[in-house]
């Protein structure tokens, strides 16, 4: 009896030590699978917004995804002003207006192409179309191109950081969280 209770105690003591060790190991394993600091640091892209030309689509890269940047010309802005849904998608930096969006079709993730003459996007995969603020104009895409988290910093735009203008877009449902 004395022996068996001693054995039982040893069993429980071992179990407790092993349990703590197992939990600690699992935590270490989970953390080892986390994205590395270098990966996370590369999760921010800073764009110099003074370098873009009107009605010329530039594809940048943020977190491995294509980012469309389209500086709006005066005519494009006039057109956008007629539709509040268009206007609220644009990012104003200084006196310029920009369309900045993840360049993946919201239907199945293909990359739409831009036609500067018609000022519209066409996705070749299933025929979805978007206007110059990347608002959807022809199905099947369920919504306009998603806007990445951004923060306006003077003449620069930091992608990956959520500034007040971006948060407002999220609240009003202009874009989904990417």
């Amino acid at each position: 009896m004395k022996n068996s209770s001693r054995r039982g105690f040893m069993g429980m003591a071992f179990g407790a030590v092993a349990g703590v060790g197992a939990v600690a190991s699992l935590y270490a394993m989970k953390r080892s699978w986390d994205p590395l600091p270098s990966v996370k640091a590369a999760g921010f892209t800073t764009l110099d917004m003074s370098a873009y030309k009107e009605n010329e689509l530039v594809t940048e890269k943020w977190r491995g995804k294509p980012i469309f940047v389209l500086k709006q010309s005066k005519e494009m802005l006039e057109k956008a002003k007629k539709n509040p849904k268009d206007l609220e998608r644009l990012i104003k930096i200084g006196d310029d207006h920009f369309m900045v969006a993840v360049g993946l079709c919201t239907h199945l993730g293909c990359i739409p192409g831009y036609n500067p003459d018609e000022e519209s996007f066409l996705c070749a995969c299933h025929g979805g179309m978007y206007d110059s603020t990347a608002l959807v104009t022809k199905a099947p895409p369920p919504r306009g191109l998603d806007i990445p988290p951004f923060k306006i910093d003077g003449n620069k735009l930091v992608l990956g950081e959520a500034g007040p203008e971006y948060k407002k877009m999220l609240e009003t449902g202009v874009t989904l969280k990417v």
């Binding site: 699978w33 994205p35 294509p66």
Partner: protein, 404 residues
């Protein structure tokens, strides 16, 4: 210390130390197999041989493959395919075997379903077999990432995106699995590790479990006959080989098994030498490019049926249907309420259930490959609904079954 005597032969020397005679008797000469079975019972051995082919070809590929996003594609398509002598052989054996192994797994599964080999004490055989199916699926998917072509990259993107759980938007989990925001170096190296070490270890363990699960209930037979293996074995050992319902696993049954394996290997190497291209997607011969999506992203043929269950529905119901399809086969022994463990042709409604299920999975597979447009997406939708409905009605139709 145990008592040892001077050995009379090498055999005796080993026998005293390792009991090789006992091992041979337990594992082979007195492991009993029923006589009333057919060639479908050889699929287990065919699978074991295919796994062996994957292992050997994989070892040779491993010597030249480089798990690095900058060099992976060329290490496969240039180094292994053009520089290494017979490198093409290992790659084509590996690729063809990875595809054909699923064909055999499906035949093996549907054989088990048809003959009721998941019931009456054989539940653990079925469950360990399904665990093997999951492990092989993970092995196939992780291996598909390694050439780092366009299909590798985008399949990796789409499949890991499934873990976001649709509207749950668990993007943190997806990034954790990838180790990055998109499939990149961390993703490639960890899937390499999974493919060459962790999952193969799990597969080896599960094969052991699968065999062990077979030991006590023994293999089923094509007549659904309940055999008293002890009595039949005694009869056999007493010399009544013709009257006994069982034979020795080795070498007697093995001889037939290996003949089926031989026919299979003719078919297998015919594919390797003349039709290896069916296992090589042309899109994957373009290097991975995160800024260019292929027009159609589809999985390998063996995943098409479950992909087609995901596809016709909106995102959230689609994911639920997909998750359902992934786990429901595990529950087969418990959803089948019938007391009969006999072939499907003697089970009334279950016979219809079996053939409808088989045809439905073939239809799902075919529709999964076609673009989701027009009539194809309608057929796909109805086939997906049929799949789910079949599982819902299974407990009821089997409950109605008369005891034979």
């Amino acid at each position: 210390m145990a008592h040892f005597e001077k050995a009379t032969s090498v055999h005796d020397w080993l026998n005293q130390r390792l009991a090789i005679d006992t091992v041979r008797r337990v594992m082979a000469t007195e492991y009993w197999i029923p006589k009333n079975i057919n060639f479908l019972w050889a699929m287990g051995m065919v699978l074991a041989v295919t796994f062996g082919l994957l292992l050997v070809s994989g070892i040779f590929l491993l010597m030249y493959y480089q798990p690095n996003v900058a060099t992976a594609f060329d290490s496969v398509n240039y180094t292994i395919m053009r520089e290494v002598e017979f490198g093409w052989l290992w790659r084509h054996v590996h690729g063809v075997a990875a595809s054909v192994v699923f064909l055999i797994i499906y035949i093996h599964m549907f054989t088990g379903i048809y003959y009721g080999s998941y019931k009456k004490g054989r539940e653990m055989i079925w469950i360990s077999g399904m665990l093997l199916f999951v492990a092989f699926s993970a092995e196939a998917f992780s291996g598909y990432m390694l050439p780092w072509g366009q299909m590798s990259y985008w399949a990796g993107m789409v499949i890991t995106n499934l873990f976001a759980g649709g509207s749950l938007h668990a993007d943190g989990l997806v990034e954790w699995i990838r180790g990055d925001y998109v499939p990149a170096q961390a993703f490639l190296t960890r899937f390499f590790m999974l493919h060459v070490l962790l999952i193969p270890l799990a597969i080896l363990g599960l094969i052991g479990l699968h065999f062990a699960a077979l030991r006590i209930p023994h293999v089923n037979n094509q007549d659904g006959e309940e055999i008293d293996f002890d009595a039949e074995a005694k009869k056999y050992l007493a010399g009544d080989k013709a009257g006994s319902k069982v034979i020795r696993f080795a070498n007697d049954f093995m001889a037939k098994d290996m003949m089926v394996v031989a026919f299979y290997l003719f078919f297998f190497f015919y594919l390797v030498f003349f039709h290896y291209d069916f296992a090589m997607d042309p899109v994957n011969f373009d290097p991975a490019d995160g800024l260019k999506t292929p027009a159609h992203i589809y999985p390998e043929w063996y995943f098409l049926w479950s992909y087609e269950i995901l596809r016709p529905f909106p995102t959230d119901p689609g994911l639920i249907a997909f998750a359902f399809a992934q786990v429901i086969f595990f529950l087969l022994p418990f959803l089948d309420r019938s007391p009969n463990a006999v072939p499907a042709n003697r089970r009334g409604l279950f016979k219809i259930w079996f053939w409808v299920m088989l045809v439905d999975m073939i239809v799902l597979t075919a529709m999964g490959k076609l673009p989701p447009e027009g009539i194809f997406s309608t057929i796909g939708l109805y086939a997906a609904i049929t799949f789910i409905a079949l599982w819902v009605v299974l407990p009821f139709i089997t409950k109605l079954e008369r005891k034979l």
